[in-house]
Amino acid sequence: MLNVASPLINGLKITLQHLFKKPVTLQYPTERPVVGPRFRGLHALNRFHDRSKCVACYLCPTVCPAKCITVEAAEDPITHEKYASRYDIDILRCIFCGYCVEACPVDAVKMTENFELANYKREDFAYTQEMLTDKK
């Protein structure tokens, strides 16, 4: 015979248990989440002296599945080194997969714990090299 009561009771038990547990929801923004160290938030570029560490190898724009990174290379007129004269991420298109970080051969791009990316205008989601590079 089919027991109608027992699943019902089991379900209610779980519900009642949860009534007395600590809630998982956070009272954002007054409460802040603890973000794990390998969290994939907004990108940042490591700094090397007076510019970002990016050498404009084009591996991240190549690997990026969302095609949201734009890099342009330039030659330093004195040292002849290659550097990124432009490094833009259109964060609206980014899927935060982290491939760019994985592809970078010189450890220039990383992902931070910053997840608070809301903004008012579309343009404000276009992150430039200047915005992304670690401050001195």
């Binding site: 050498v55 084009y58 724009p61 190549t62 290379a73 002849h80 290659k82 051969p105």
Partner: protein, 827 residues
Amino acid sequence: MVNLTIDDKQVTVEKDATIYDAAKSAGIKIPILCHDKKLHPFGGCRMCLVEVEQMKGRLIPSCTTPATEGMIVRTSNEEILKARKLVLELLLLKHPVDCPVCDAAGDCDLQNLTYEYGVSKNPLQDEKFRWEIDYINPLIERDMNRCVHCGKCARICDEIVSFGAYTFINRGIDAKMGTAFDGPLDCEFCGSCVSVCPVGALLSRPFKFKARWWSMQKVKTVCSYCGTGCQLTLGVKDNKVLTTIYDENQGFHNGQLCTRGRWGYQFVNSEKRLTTPLIRKGNSLVEAGWDEALALVASKLREAKGAVAGLVTPRLTNEELFLFKKFFTDGLGCESIDHSAGYAHGALTEAAVKGLGQGASPSVIADIQKTDLLLVVKTDAYETHPVLGFEINLGVKRQGVNLRLVSDKKGKLSRLPGAQTLVHTPGSEVTLFNTLTNIIITEKLADAGAAALPGYELLVKGVAGYTPEKGAVATGLGADELTALAREYAAAEKALILLPLGLGYPGHNATLAQALLNLAILTGRIGKEGSGVLFLGEKNNSQGAVDMGIIPGAKGKDAAGIIAGCASGEIKALYIAGENPVVSYPDRKKVEAALEKVGFLVVQDLFLTETAAKADVVLPVCSFAEKDGTFTSVGRNVQKVTKAIKPVGTSKTDFEIFNKLFAEFTGKPLYLSSQAVFAEIAESVPGYAGLTWAKLGSNGIVRPVALSPKFVPVESVVSVPQPGKFALLTGSALNHSGTLSQYGEGPMMVCPEGYVEFGRDDAKKLGLIEKGTVTVTSDAGSVKLQVKLGNRLPAGVLFAPYHFGVNSINTVAVGAPVTWVNVAKAE
């Protein structure tokens, strides 16, 4: 034929094949680093090691070992893989491995092999190379830290380019690929070394850091500079042509290019490109819309009907030229159309038509390497068509072609092994050829069938006066030299004559072409493999322009007549498509005055050229990279040009413009595409019958010719030397082609301005030094030019290239084979 077994596969190959060739033909891949199919085997890198059953005990380099009967070859086993891995580990030992900032990455043999063989750790350790990197050179960046000592650069520069810029210097671990005395690289800048370098040791500086190899679209097309018709791969990204990419399997030339082809592409996306139509308002040209501009052009052409003329550049596609002609004949009822100042195509349109029955070269490019005796008129053939120059180099060095040059100066070709240069008095070419013809007739060396050909009697009479003795006086050569050359030419089993044509060579006209055709016909050279005459049309589509009938009709005026007609007021409206007569036609002042005089001038061009600046309406057009079509190159090869990028600005193709005007003036429907026009060309142009767009494929088709040889005797016009004056010869500089290359950065980086070249003795007498300034004056005008010193000019002879708008030599030159000038040192 040789039979051998490779990886259990039976392979049969030619006797001279190596194991590597044999494997390749069987589709078995053996890795290589230092081997190149164009070059002699070298065997320097040991990447291609294989095991041969009969030579057990050691591994054998497959690229240098000939395949022999019954060989049993294994191309991979554990030992071989280990050996190859070791080769890579050793190469990487001192290699910087800076792939992230190396432009070769993605197209680097070392990188690819390292990946393929999984060399991720190196058990060996050493310091990295610390060679100084050459950042100074404008075109080639040399970073010898990345060099893998394959020697390909030195070998190609020596074997094919015949320049010899590089050699290994130092010994052992200090060995390095370098230039003479390790100095700066100052060469021809053909870029062959850059293309074959398997790594990032030699890189194109103008392209440095512009894009990654894998991110570019590779578009196969044809070079738009000279008539050689080299195939080209454009590297395209974001609608911009960023570079040319080497493809060793492209064309008869195996991907080799010259400076203009390899480094002259920047004109396509030049800042200077015109982007909107311009209409003259008072003294200035102001931007206008297409409708307004085209309406104005149409109304002015209608007004001037009956007094219209057209000049068009042979750089356009066949389809565009065909439409241009149709627009002029059917739409305007006008027969006054021409190109290249008239004389630069006379060899084809007049001489070949009269002497062979049709306006094309009887011979093809492949004949250069197949001939026994190659007779080149002017060493300049190398400068006008550098990649054909490589063919000559290869013919002489590999196929044992005997090279003879008749020229008014020496040149690079003169230095080839066994080459003999007869340096004659400037302007005496026709006499020279008539004399050769005379000698062959009098010595009875002519072909047995010659006497039966039409015009033979006339020829015999015509050249009777050109005895060796008289010829010797006129040409400044010895009678014995002329006789020896005539005998040698007649005796050769196969003999081919090359005649470069072009705006810089007014002497290379119909008369000269006729004289050498007579000689070739007389000795039975026409229609035979490896023999005949090859006219080297100057521009990418010079042959096409002739085929499409861009020549004046019976009642029409030729280029010179058109200029004169403009000056006299007889021509009221002139339509110039792509030509730049102000700079490239002789007697600049006269041309300028004529263009200022003409009632209405339309110029259709990529740039605001010196000619366009004088126009009433300027229409911006697309470059070769923005359109589909066909070019017909030297030797009648019809090849496809492919659109690589969208039109720059609002520019339209010449095709669109002519199509519109044609439809408007004839009331006929528009052609739907270049293909549709090509189909009509195939129907109506002799020699193109049966060609279809699809059939052209990627290598093009050498269109056939029907030849009916006939003798047409010609008289020489002797240029009388003027005492105290220099004989000025114009021509092409190696790094330039026409006036277009002025807008290509590469050519301008290595040859930025006009110059006049002096022999050392003349310079000494005048007290001139390299890079000094002189004023060159003729009856037509005077110009200040930089001095260049050289060893190739005889006393009293000067040379100046014609490509440059600033201080253009055509201010002085008047379109005669020789212009007599005074020279004064300028302060």
